[in-house]
Symmetry: C2
Subunit: 255 residues, 2 copies
């Protein structure tokens, strides 16, 4: 447990960095998008660049639309959502992010972030300067390749989400696909993926999937009555992964 020190504004990264010590030497986080920068020479050999750590309190934003893009960031602990607010002020969730995920890469386009990243619970992020990242990629083909792969990971996530818009994909299927995907990602991050505690509200799930929060609630009930999952508030237990997969319609994984 952390005893939260006086929390600085998370909006702009603290110039000098937090007094959080660097990662315990040789203990890379599982499947992190910053891994190529963090441990470019393999386990045990720390990075030659400064990777700063930063805490973000629940509900605070790591960055907001319009903020300058100066850092490559990855979630270390906790969960984030990224949202875009339309002209009416209603916010549209475009993604949820768990430990290891890179954040805000869309900012590379114009040097400004295109969305807000908001912590769903108290969280920590790892931060490398863009400049350092570029430098390292130029020095090592291996680092570059790893970094490109991290980009592609983000891209692939977006493409997977496009499948939610499939012809007549029903609400129940969407939720099933979401849960399956979330579980898969938790697993990839080395976190428990069968007994899940969702960090987001029904409304936020609904926003991502294009459904009303009531529909999400009803679909949880339906999937539970089918025996695919057990639901108690935000605690989800995946009882029958096969049944859940059958409810969704992901394309064949292996190819």
């Amino acid at each position: 447990m952390f005893d939260m020190p006086t929390q600085p504004h998370a909006g702009e990264p603290a110039p000098a960095g937090e007094p959080v010590p660097p990662l315990e030497a040789g203990r890379p986080c599982a499947a992190c998008g910053l891994l190529p920068l963090c441990f470019p020479h393999g386990r045990g050999v720390p990075a030659p660049i400064a990777i700063r750590h930063q805490r973000v309190a629940k509900g605070d934003s790591l960055f907001r639309r319009g903020d300058s893009f100066l850092h490559v960031q990855a979630v270390k602990t906790g969960y984030f959502k990224t949202v875009i607010s339309d002209r009416l002020g209603t916010e549209q969730v475009i993604g949820f992010h768990l430990p290891g995920d890179l954040l805000g890469l869309d900012g590379m386009l114009h040097g400004q972030h295109g969305c807000d990243a908001i912590a769903l619970e108290d969280a920590e992020v790892c931060v490398a300067s863009c400049f350092d990242a570029g430098e390292m990629c130029r020095q090592s083909a291996q680092v570059q390749e790893g970094f490109w792969r991290s980009f592609a990971q983000v891209l692939t996530g977006h493409e997977r989400r496009a499948l939610l818009l499939g012809q007549g994909v029903q609400a129940q299927q969407r939720l099933a696909m979401f849960l399956e995907d979330w579980s898969r990602r938790l697993r990839a991050a080395g976190l428990p993926h069968q007994e899940i505690v969702l960090p987001m509200t029904r409304q936020e799930i609904g926003s991502l999937l294009g459904l009303a929060l009531e529909t999400i609630s009803r679909c949880f009930a339906k999937l539970e009555s089918k025996g695919a999952i057990e639901v108690r508030q935000r605690s989800i237990r995946i009882v029958d992964a096969k049944l859940l997969a059958g409810a969704g319609l992901w394309p064949g994984e292996g190819g």
Copy 2:
């Protein structure tokens, strides 16, 4: 007009490359994602690497799910769709691509393409080897930055599409947003963007937007009756861009 020579299979890039001459010296395509590689030193100075050209006949695929990812590719002329087929064989459109767009970057993740790229009409693509691209990015920070920006462009396009899933975004709004976005991209590519001839069918639009083809047809009629557009088959004329923008709900652009 091209008089199509005997068309080789487009599936695997021809090892030796097509006999198409390189771009006319010093005439970069407008807003191309490969520009940083094609003209790294500015206009007039050709690239030090080989950028091969390739033709793809209408209906043929540039690559398919599972193909090795070995090249960075950009549309030169014509239009493409990228699709993912689910287990049942129905294909889900995840994007349309016009001249300048990079194609198949998701393949960087596992070294295999995750979707199929299919030409909507006879098309040409520019192809650079991954190896060369990496090499050039390592040699020049400027090239690297440009290339990263191209990545981010693709990413941003996906995020924009996530807005289609906004709370209660109606079919008509979705189509309006699609047309607006398509027009904007045509404009960025230096193509006519008010008198449009859509390269895709109603069904394909519907697939992208998560709507039935009949709904697309009806929404075209509605938008026409509103006076926002004129429709004749695939020819669309944007009469009142403001009205069209009002039908959609994009977030404030500049802000």
